[in-house]
């Protein structure tokens, strides 16, 4: 259920970031891929691949592209990031940053490759790939910072300090 909520929130965020009054660079950000990264800790690689597939299909549908290449790219990227996270037992900020960079890079490259095999001209070139990777990586950094802040907020040590202060 939380996964579905996060997925929808990320989808809305991804759509919202393309708003004309926001900085144009934000449009390159792919929060849906962060949901894929987030599932890499809980699901097995195939499960993450399914999640990536859903994220890619949603991206394709909402970007009004050909529906399919994004799904395939998302599945491949999810599988790859899950394997890497498991292989290197990533945790904390490294998990978010490496995961977001890897998933966006894998997704973009696979997407380009699939489009190339279909003989379709992609709607963005290398600079677009770079922007997507950079912005998704930056979002991963923000997610890592947020997670750390949340952990600090919920930490038993902080709770103890608060209790002691009240005494």
């Amino acid at each position: 259920m939380r996964l579905v909520a996060a997925f929808l929130a990320a989808l809305l965020l991804q759509l919202g970031l393309t708003a004309s009054h926001l900085w144009w660079v934000f449009a390159a950000c792919q929060p849906l891929l962060l949901v894929v990264v987030a599932t890499a800790r809980r699901l097995n690689p195939v499960g993450v691949a399914w999640c990536g597939l859903a994220a890619g299909l949603a991206s394709d549908a909402f970007a009004e592209r050909i529906i399919g290449p994004g799904g395939i790219a998302g599945a491949v990227a999810g599988f790859a990031v899950a394997l890497v996270v498991r292989r290197f037992e990533m945790e904390g900020p490294l998990y978010w940053i490496v995961g977001s960079l890897l998933v966006s890079a894998c997704s973009e490259l696979t997407w380009m490759l699939v489009l190339a095999t279909l003989g379709v001209r992609p709607d963005h070139a290398f600079s677009g790939v770079l922007a997507t990777v950079a912005m998704t990586g930056a979002t991963g950094l923000v997610a890592a910072a947020g997670e750390r802040a949340l952990r600090a907020w919920r930490s038993p040590a902080r709770h103890r300090r608060r209790v002691l202060r009240r005494l």
């Binding site: 809305l12 965020l13 759509l15 919202g16 970031l17 393309t18 708003a19 004309s20 009054h21 926001l22 900085w23 195939v46 499960g47 691949a49 399914w50 597939l53 299909l57 549908a61 909402f62 009004e64 050909i66 529906i67 399919g68 290449p69 799904g71 395939i72 599945a75 699939v114 279909l118 003989g119 379709v120």
Partner: protein
């Protein structure tokens, strides 16, 4: 199909292959204006509206910040400019005052105008040394003992000359002295400086009218005769002389432009 459901890894591969085929089909037969597009537009519009609202708010905030900064910068610049203009205005006002005073001075003594040097007071030390400093010096033809005239009357004499400036010993200086005569009184008297300049040397019980003009006689060899020192106050007897306090005509505290007469060019006004 049952086997595919149980093997998720194979299922995703099959789905991907299906998607690939579907993509190829879409390439050949592009979809356009479908219900999907309408759904996408409908779903994305609230998110876009929120994004635009946030963007607009940020832009307003940012432009406000920028405007505030520029306004503060403009205010700072205007304050500096205003201070500069205020200073320039003060200087110009002083200049105009001095010019007016100089002009009136030249008009008051037309016969001396050719032989005198118009000078401006650049410093004054009335409480301690009872002197003025003028912006003219030996280079401008100023000499020691040159009488100094203000609009109201005499103020003193030059006692020190430098190349570009000179110092004036005021009539209020304790060492100042000048030969003077009171209008309506035959005798010549000596005007002595000090906090209250006064005439001395008049014989006792001399009748000195109040508010009578005290003029220079030129006997001491410094001041040309006939120039106004001031007016008399109430006379009193002090021993062998009648002492007459004098209210000086020129207020040294307000003088800004003076005429310095050349000692060699002394003559009647």
């Amino acid at each position: 199909m049952v086997q595919l459901r149980s093997r998720a890894d194979l299922a995703i591969v099959v789905v991907c292959v299906g998607l690939y085929i579907g993509s190829a089909a879409q390439v050949r037969f592009p979809l356009g204006g479908t219900a999907l597009s309408f759904a996408v537009t409908t779903i994305s519009s609230p998110a876009l509206a929120i994004g635009n609202a946030i963007g607009r708010t940020w832009q307003v905030f940012w432009s406000g910040q920028r405007n505030l900064r520029s306004t503060l910068g403009e205010l700072r610049r205007l304050r500096l400019e205003s201070a500069e203009l205020h200073r320039a205005n003060q200087l110009l006002s002083a200049e105009v005052t001095a010019l007016r005073q100089g002009s009136r001075l030249l008009a008051a003594y037309p016969s001396l105008a050719d032989q005198a040097v118009l000078a401006r007071v650049i410093a004054r030390d009335l409480p301690r040394t009872q002197t003025l400093r003028l912006d003219r010096g030996s280079r401008d033809g100023i000499h020691v003992d040159g009488p100094v005239l203000a609009e109201g009357g005499l103020v003193g004499r030059v006692d020190r000359v430098l190349e570009h400036s000179c110092r004036v010993q005021l009539l209020t200086h304790p060492a100042a002295a000048a030969a003077a005569a009171v209008e309506g009184v035959q005798q010549e008297a000596l005007l002595v400086g000090g906090d209250q300049p006064h005439l001395t040397g008049l014989s006792p019980y001399t009748q000195v009218p109040l508010e009578a003009s005290v003029l220079s006689t030129g006997s001491e060899g410094i001041y040309p005769p006939g120039l106004l020192f001031g007016t008399t106050l109430e006379a009193r007897n002090d021993g062998l002389f009648t002492i007459v306090p004098v209210r000086l005509a020129a207020n040294a505290a307000e003088v800004t432009a003076v005429l310095v007469l050349a000692p060699a060019a002394r003559g009647a006004p």
